[in-house]
Structure formats: structure tokens, C-alpha cells
Symmetry: D2
Subunit: 345 residues, 4 copies
Amino acid sequence: MKAVFKEKPAPGAVLKQASEPKPGPNDVLIKIEATSICGTDVHIYTWDAWSQKRIKPPMIFGHECAGKIIELGKNVEAAGKLKLGDKISVETHVYDGSCFQCKQGNPHICENMKIFGVDMNGVFAEYAVVPQQNAWVNDPALPPAVACIQEPFGNAVHTVFEGGAPSGDSAVVLGCGPIGLFAIGILKAIGASHIYAVEPVPVRAEIARKMGATRVFNPKEDYVKEILGATKGKGVGAVLEMSGNGGALQNGFRVLRPAGKLGVLGVFPKDVQLDVTNGIVFKYARVYGINGRRIWGTWEKTRELLTGKKVDVRPVLTHEFKLDDFEKGFAAIAAGEAGKVILKP
Amino acid sequence: MKAVFKEKPAPGAVLKQASEPKPGPNDVLIKIEATSICGTDVHIYTWDAWSQKRIKPPMIFGHECAGKIIELGKNVEAAGKLKLGDKISVETHVYDGSCFQCKQGNPHICENMKIFGVDMNGVFAEYAVVPQQNAWVNDPALPPAVACIQEPFGNAVHTVFEGGAPSGDSAVVLGCGPIGLFAIGILKAIGASHIYAVEPVPVRAEIARKMGATRVFNPKEDYVKEILGATKGKGVGAVLEMSGNGGALQNGFRVLRPAGKLGVLGVFPKDVQLDVTNGIVFKYARVYGINGRRIWGTWEKTRELLTGKKVDVRPVLTHEFKLDDFEKGFAAIAAGEAGKVILKP
Amino acid sequence: MKAVFKEKPAPGAVLKQASEPKPGPNDVLIKIEATSICGTDVHIYTWDAWSQKRIKPPMIFGHECAGKIIELGKNVEAAGKLKLGDKISVETHVYDGSCFQCKQGNPHICENMKIFGVDMNGVFAEYAVVPQQNAWVNDPALPPAVACIQEPFGNAVHTVFEGGAPSGDSAVVLGCGPIGLFAIGILKAIGASHIYAVEPVPVRAEIARKMGATRVFNPKEDYVKEILGATKGKGVGAVLEMSGNGGALQNGFRVLRPAGKLGVLGVFPKDVQLDVTNGIVFKYARVYGINGRRIWGTWEKTRELLTGKKVDVRPVLTHEFKLDDFEKGFAAIAAGEAGKVILKP
Amino acid sequence: MKAVFKEKPAPGAVLKQASEPKPGPNDVLIKIEATSICGTDVHIYTWDAWSQKRIKPPMIFGHECAGKIIELGKNVEAAGKLKLGDKISVETHVYDGSCFQCKQGNPHICENMKIFGVDMNGVFAEYAVVPQQNAWVNDPALPPAVACIQEPFGNAVHTVFEGGAPSGDSAVVLGCGPIGLFAIGILKAIGASHIYAVEPVPVRAEIARKMGATRVFNPKEDYVKEILGATKGKGVGAVLEMSGNGGALQNGFRVLRPAGKLGVLGVFPKDVQLDVTNGIVFKYARVYGINGRRIWGTWEKTRELLTGKKVDVRPVLTHEFKLDDFEKGFAAIAAGEAGKVILKP
């Protein structure tokens, strides 16, 4: 089969032939119908500091996918819960099911987590082996390109709902990468009254508007002042930090209404200096770190929002390439012009 | 001024002249712009058993309203928070502010509650005196007929949100009186995936569809079977009981998904026989009695949903009469053909 | 090995020799150190209506246990998470891990639940086979008789904590069987301010006092009046229904403070007539059906409360017999004099 | 009457004669029975930067108190809810009752907050005027010295309970000033399994042990390593930051278990550099800024814990002086040897 390999500990990746993988007893083999490129894949592709520590080439990377089961591992077949022909997507957090956090109902923060497409081969290929416990059966009517973005869409669902969704309230989304854009659509679907977004890239700002943002600010604008003005000085009920930018987080606390919720999904390259006294203590802020997706509660909501067409994600899916042209996909992202990039084998 | 009086301890009411009331030190006087008829008003009008015990004629009844402040009580003026010309609606639960429940943040279930328009004169008149603590200042742009239904709309908001709103999940509304119809609109606004409604009256069933119901069942149908079928046997995530019918409540527990929420706003004329073991215990049900509105949290959400046009209540507002024709309003309700009936002085 | 069999579809049970069972690939084999008798075992023993429908003799019953792993199934050994010599107890709800409820994080209400010791052989024996997913590793220092009551203790933990524990608030426990008695101890440990209990059997009432009950009422007393009096007419913050008696549940709603929580663990032989209007709607009650234990969140709290000696369960463990004398255990329970009865092989 | 005045914009305070104050229409006049010194009073006394901006001398400061009502303002008398002879303490957050936050049920973070004893005269005197809305009626049996520390005790109650109390779980208290010490007692009362405290001052560390701390660390020790070791690398379920020390907060995130709660009551003199990625995002932390007390929910719990003797605060009350000797009280605190200092007129 064709597959995109991180071949060597260096920037780039190569498409080459590989033998079709065999599922272990607790795995399924899927024929890939669509994949999409995550920020993590970009880190692996560009071979940044994180990748150099974590990734062990050669490996097939990529983890967001939609595919069809074509072979069942022995135990999976015996269990009888998944069957040939099932259309699935993959929860990429491969949890052990037995640690303290898994036992508390938090497998998404498993103490012994492995990441699909990072710590094991992934989906930029024609076929992929998926641990059965991580397979999510899709509605067959969901188009593969939509099914495959459920994983990052789930990050947005998780951030919007954790600590309470701001239905009938105002919200700010900081950073309009694909997850931020999905979040805007979800906020609209749950009846947020005003949705402010902050994003420097014009193409993404435009998509943010299509997804339902009331107003989109360029970070060069004094958006703290603007949002406080628009909310009569009160600030917003919910801030969703999806940029990983320290300054954005600082501003997030400034535009947050006292007793409001601030969800942080962004990953920050370094420590952030925070005015804890005014931003958290006196503001009576409720801050939620977000990580992955609730397994499978988040996926249930994701399915309902997507199959019920409560959120139309198509404006976010800006590019689609053949897997052979994966380099065009990474180039589109590098150019800063892309929403979500789909790759199809 | 003209006012509709419950004149005698007997069915009916009369429109007659009365002197314009004077506000006490902690009251405001409003000029009424619109009122609407609540089920409670129907009880008073028809002089049912509850009314015979509670109501002390002669009195002016009615409590759902929108009006403009034209005089301020002495202490209200001194406090400086309300001002002449403010457009207001009225929270009808007149709480004492000092009992245990008020101190716990639950004034809506005050231990010494008085009801505006029931235990004191109300709003079916040209002018009304309103305790300042119960005045809610409206956005001036809100049409009086919409402003005046915020109180029952708030019941629906309260029921939808208490215990968690079913965004991205399915819900059933049992009974499509005005509050049930508002609830359907709110469920749609917060992104419920499927909204099932049960209502015998065709006119109301039709409004339910306009408000966003996925399907509306006549209670003669086997809607338990239908809803279980539509949810693949799982049942729905949220049931909102708004009919006060014991059989509906029993069915509500049958269509509820295990671990789902069941909100009860309906008032039942007699005890209800419940299969507690299967309906609550084994079903791991979460049941929320609902009463009034959170003061003022519910009103904040109500304002956002109405001023932001997340919910369009116009299909529910089926009739509008001059106050002089109040009997036509009660007749429309008695005929079972009405949604909400507006009366304007 | 010796084992207690439900041999025939008739009252009673027999102790007889059986061959030592072999664990399947996903099971472990344990040597039993202690077991205890649950109400469910009494149903099976007396062969009541429920048992006649559910139980398929011949089978070994019993499910509350503590034991030591002496053999690992093939897959269990491969997984490497459980090991020979581990002391374990058993979560008796054998969930499938793949249904909607399991995927929502609610395996304790799995749609395809099987019960250990009911739908498969159990623990009234020298050895037992346990599905590895249901094994809970104990602190080796926990005495077997204490380790084996964690399962019913967990029911009490679940009921106390679900919907919020009444720390610094008052509570009522209706019914002082072993789970009710454990609940009293847990309420004391979490700082409930006043703990009222209702129980007709003097021996149990006495244990209730030892566990920390402020007052214990005989159901013949007008305990509704007494509890309302003791709470200045307000009622208590939490009611825990653990009797399965319809009248007790009705009274539970009467002594519940408005906005209070009522947890229902009791199983009722028939429908209960409830004053929903006053008991739930106007009372703004929050009602939680309780079922099993959160897997494994409840067990974590259970372990902390027991190993940290926050709750001393010894007063509840009134009888201990050799497994050979199991009939004495059932007799003690039938005599209404027992707390928890331990059986040791 | 005698009163302690902040007389001039400079360090120190003076005891002098003043005329007995008269209550306004919405106030009560109390005869002070006991007061205690808060950290805020120390700021005012030492005339730090914050005081220089906020305080307008001359004024009577002090706000923690217990007293007896000896005169009722006109409206208070008319309302009939407070009466002569009532023993009261004071909620020091004087909220306006009409802003957005007050209307949301959050008067403790009122947008127009005034602080009793800071923005208006307080209680270091023989008599004081108290806004009736801020009066909390005490159980007459509560000793004045205990009644007067309910306000800071309430800060601890608020921090322990907000976001869920760690009953049956482990906790860390960072900083053992009086509020930290109260928090330890409360954690013990609600059944926390292990309570770790961090405090440099030996006298306070000793009181921490008396209040129920499992272990008390000197911040010079590597307590992060010790606590992680004691929790088998998992960290604790709840961290309560009560020191206002940036390094302590950083360590708080290090010892927090993933998905754990971190409450921040401490006020930090400057920004804190935080590893948001590892401390909040990947840790899935739930962070709660805490401010004042829930009015009056926190006071209800406070009353139950103190009148029910669930928490014995006496070890914290290290010093008691006559009001005339107030300087000895401030000196004891300055010497770093004090828990709570009581001043009695």
C-alpha cells in the first residue's frame, strides 16, 4: 500500500510503498477513506523540538481519519461488537483502561497514554490498524471528509461544554485555527448570544464569520477594549483559548466576566505571566484545562451536532488533496491560508 | 382607571373603573402596555377550588405584563436604581429576601412567598403598583407583547436549563400550552438534536411544529413506543413535563433514557402512581421539580434569547384583544384554540 | 472445592463439592477469603418471584467477596495489570464496555448488564472465577471481612455523594439495613450536621446510633413531625431512601427541605403513589435514582474512607460464620437481627 | 465610645473617644462583643500601598465582629426581620443588590462593592453601625470570639466547597494563616483522607497539626517531591492556595492530580509565571478563583460546622486582648507568632 512515512529524524516526509499491515487480536484493519492534517502532523513534518523527542522514525503518521473495517482481530471478532464494513473514525488517545484516571472515568487523561499516529503507526496511508477500543462507529451517511474531522471537532465540543455551555450568553474564541472555527459553529448551534473571535489571518477571519462569529477582531486591534465595550463593561460569559499565545490568554482573562468560565485548549510554547489576583481571584474565574475528548461522551455530542446538521463544517474544509499530494497540503497550511486540509488515498 | 376585577367569590370577572393606585415607598407605579393571560388567571376566572381558598375578592388579577414606570416610591427614588420611563416586566414571586431559602440564593422558593396578581393586586388594568425588588428592566426595543410573556417564557428557560440543557441531545416536551411551546423554541435554540412533543389540540400541535418540534404526537398515539423506536430503544436525554397530567408523567419516565433528566413544571390535580423502581431507581433518573424562575439568572438568559432573536415567540402569540374585551380572551382559551392571549389596555 | 449451590428452582440452597473452576482468557481465579450475604442472596435463597424469573439453577450464588488471585487468564497475564497474589474484591456489575451508557462513562447502568453471582457463578465457594475488568485490587492491609463489604458500602457512598454530599447540612436515612447503616457512617465522616435515621428493628436502630445517627426513629413514631420540628420546619438537606418502602418514600418527600436532594436506592415491590405537586414541583426537589456504584470512582472514595479509617464499619458486621454454616447466616437475617453477615470458607 | 481610628495617612492607629454612631434607616446599631484582626487590617495599620490608595482617614477600621443589636433603623424596624437583642456578625461585602452579578445570585462579587471597615466605618470600637442587609444572626450560644471569626472561616468554607469538597480524597493547603488553618479543620470535618499543609512559621505549623493536618511541610523542604511521593506520584485531589506566594501557586499546580481542583484565595503582589501547558491544559486542571463568601450559602454551612462543633477553631485563636491594647494584637501578628487575634472592647 501507499503510505506517508516520517522516514528520518529530519524535516519532511516521504510517500512510499509499504506492506499492508495486519491487525493484532484486539485491533481492526481499516481501509482509509479520508484523513486530515492536524497541527501535530505539522510538528512532525517540520521536525520541531517536540517531535525530535517524541517521534521514532520510520513511522507512518497522521491520526484524523475515516475508514471502513475490512478485517477484525481475533478477540474483536469474538467480542462481536464491531463488524466488517463498519465505517469508523478513531479516538487518538490510546488509554490503558486500568490506571487511576481511567478508573475515575477519565480515560482521556490516562496516566499511560499512547497517541495513535504519534506513538504508533497512523493513517496517512491506504490502510491502517486501529485498536478496537479506540474505534468509533460512524453514521454511514456522514461524508468521509466530515467523519474524519470529528476528532478535532471533538476538542471544540469538549471546550465549549466543559464547565457549562454559554447558551444565551456571550463568548470569545481566541484563535481561529480549525478547532477555533469549529468552536464558533458549535457556539452558534447551542445558542450563544454573541460570539467574538480573534484571528490575524484574513482567510480564517472570513471563515469565522461564515461559521457564525458576531465579530472577528485582528489581534492588532484593541479587542479587549472593544469586547468590554460591546458587553457594557461586563465581559463575556465564556472565553475559549485556542491559540496557544500567551498574550491572548492574558487578554482572555481581561475580557472574561467575573464568575465566567475560561477554557484553555491552546498549548503554550513557554510559561505565561498571569495577573492571578485580578484575572482569577478577584474575578472569581472558573478555569478549565482541556485535553482531548471525553471518551465517548464528547463523541456522542459530536455525532448529534454533525449528523443533525446543527453545525455545517464545510466552510472550514478549505483544501482537499490526494494522499500522493500530501506535500501540497502541508504547504497550504504553511502558507497560513488553510482551514482544514483533507487528504484522500 | 379601567381594571378587571375578580369582584365576587364566583366565576367570572368585571371590568370597571377604579382609582389609580399609589406606589408605596418601595414600589413603582407603571402604565401597562401589554398583559397576557396565564393559566392561573383562568383558575381565578373560573373560580376553581384552588382560587376559592387563595383569592380574596375584590381584587385586580393578572400578573404577566410589560409597562413603563411613571412614578417612583420614596425609597426607590432615593436608591436611584430604577428611573421614570424605564420599561419593565414583573417577576411575580414576591420574596421576602430574609428567609432561609432567600439566603441560600433561592428567592424563587421563598418560605414566605406572595404572588403578584394573586395575593395582591395585579395588572389587568391601566396602571399597576409593582414592588421595586420585582421589577425587571427591559430592553426598550422589545415589543410589549413579547416583553410581557417573559415570565412564562422564563418557566420554560428554567426547565430547559436546570440540571443541564440537552444541547446535542434529544428531548421530549409533554404538553404544548404556551410554556411547552416556548420550551420547544428554546430547545431548538440551544441545539437539541431531536425535539418530540405531545399535545392533543391540533392548533397547538401545529404551533409546536412551527416552534421547532421534530415530531408532534397526539396522546392517543402510542408515543412511548414511537419515541423509543425513534431513539433506537434508548429514550431521550431530557423530558420536560408541562402538562400536569399523571399519565403523561408516567410516560415521561418510560421515554427517558437511563441517566437522563426529567424536569417537572406541571402541577398535578392529584397524586400520581409511579413505578419508582423502574422509572427512577433502575433508570438512574435525575428528576428536577421546577418552580418559577431563578431570580434573576433565568431572566438574564430570557433576555438574551429574546433580544438576540434566538427564539421567535410570535407563533405562540395567537390572540390579542383590548383589555375591554378580556372575556374574549378567556373564551379563546376555554375553546382550547389559543396559544398565548395578549390583552392591551 | 466446597460451594453453596442454588440447586433447584425452590427455596433453600445446598453446600456440596464441585470441581475448581478454570478462568477464561479474560478472567482471574481467586481463592475466597471472605464473603458476605446481600439482600439479593436472600431473594435467591428464599426463591422469590424475582429469582424465579432471573436465576437458572444449578448455580453458585453470592457476589460480595474478598479473595486472592491464584491464576490469571491468558489475556490477563499478557496485559500485565493484575498479578498473582493480588488481593481483590469484585464490582458485581459486569458491563459490556461498548453500549451507549458504557460509552457515556456510565458502565454501572450498562444496557447489556450481567450480574456476578446472579447471571453467572458467584462466590459462596472456596474459589471463584472473576472477569478481570471487574476486579478491584485492595490494599493488602484491609481485613477480608471489611474488604468484602466494599460493594454494598459503595452503594451507600454513591447515594451520599450523587447530587452533592450534605457536609455541614442535615440528612435522613430511611431504612437501616447494612447499606443504610453504612450511609450513616459515611454521612458522619463527611461532616453532616444532623443525621436522622428511621428503622423499626431495635438491633439495627442501636447500630445506627453507633454509626453516628443523631436520632433514630421507629417508623411508628410521627417522625415527619419530629424531623420537621427538629429542623424548625425547614426539613433536611438530603434524604436517602434505603428501605424500598413506599410509605417511607412518601415521608421522605415530606421531610425534605425545598431544593434538597433525595436519593433513592431502595427497590419498591409496587408502584408508589406520590404527591408530585407538593413533594417534587413546589418543593423544587432534586431526585436521584441510584444504582450500583460508579465504576470506579465510587470504589476510589470507598477505599479512602475505609483504609483511612474515616468510617469504622465493624458495628455493622454483626455475624460471622464458616461457609459450611451458611444456613445460620440466612437464619440470622431472617430473624431480623443481623447487620451484615460474613461467611468465610 | 472608645474606637480605634486610622487617624492619618501614615502607619499606626490611635484609640480615642468618639460619639456613639446613629444607624440610618436601613442600618442596625450593635454593641460590639468581640472583634478580630484580619490581614486587611494589618495593611491599613502598616499603611501599605493598597491602603494608601483605598483608605480615607480618619476612619474606624476592623470588620470581623460579633455584637448585639441595640437599635434598629426605621426601615429595619418596619421590616420586622431583625430585632433588639439579636446577636449578629457581619458579612463585610456590602453589595448593591441590583447589578448584574447580584442579579445572577453572586452578590459576593457585586460590581459596585463597598467593604465594611474599609470603605465605611467598622468595628474596632464599642459600637458600630451595620447595614441590615449584611447582618447575620448568630446562634446565641456561639461564644463571641468564635462568632466573630465566621467571616474569615467562611473564606475557608467557600474555598473548600467550591468546585466540590475533597471528601474521601487528599488535599494540600498552601499557607497556614488563620484562613489556611480553618481550611485544615474544615477538610478534616468533611472527611478528606490526607491533608498536607505548607507553612514556614513553626507556631502555625504546630496549630496546623492540631487542626488535623496529616503532615506539615516547611517550604524549604522539597514538598512537591514529598507530596507526589506520598500520593504514589498521582498528586492530590484538591489544592487550596492561601498564601499569596507565586512560588507556592506554581508548586500547587505541580502537586495537583490531573483533573483535580485548585482553589485560589491568596492575593499575589505581582504577576505569577505559570506553566499553563503542563499545569493547566495537559493536567486538565479545574481552577477556581475565590473571593469573599457566598451570601448566605457559605454562612449557613459555617454555622452548621461551628455550632455543631464539627470544627473546633480554638487552637487558631492564639491571642486575646482588650481593645485598648490593640497595638499588642498588631505586634503579635507582626512577630509572626499569631493565629487569630481577638480584641474585645
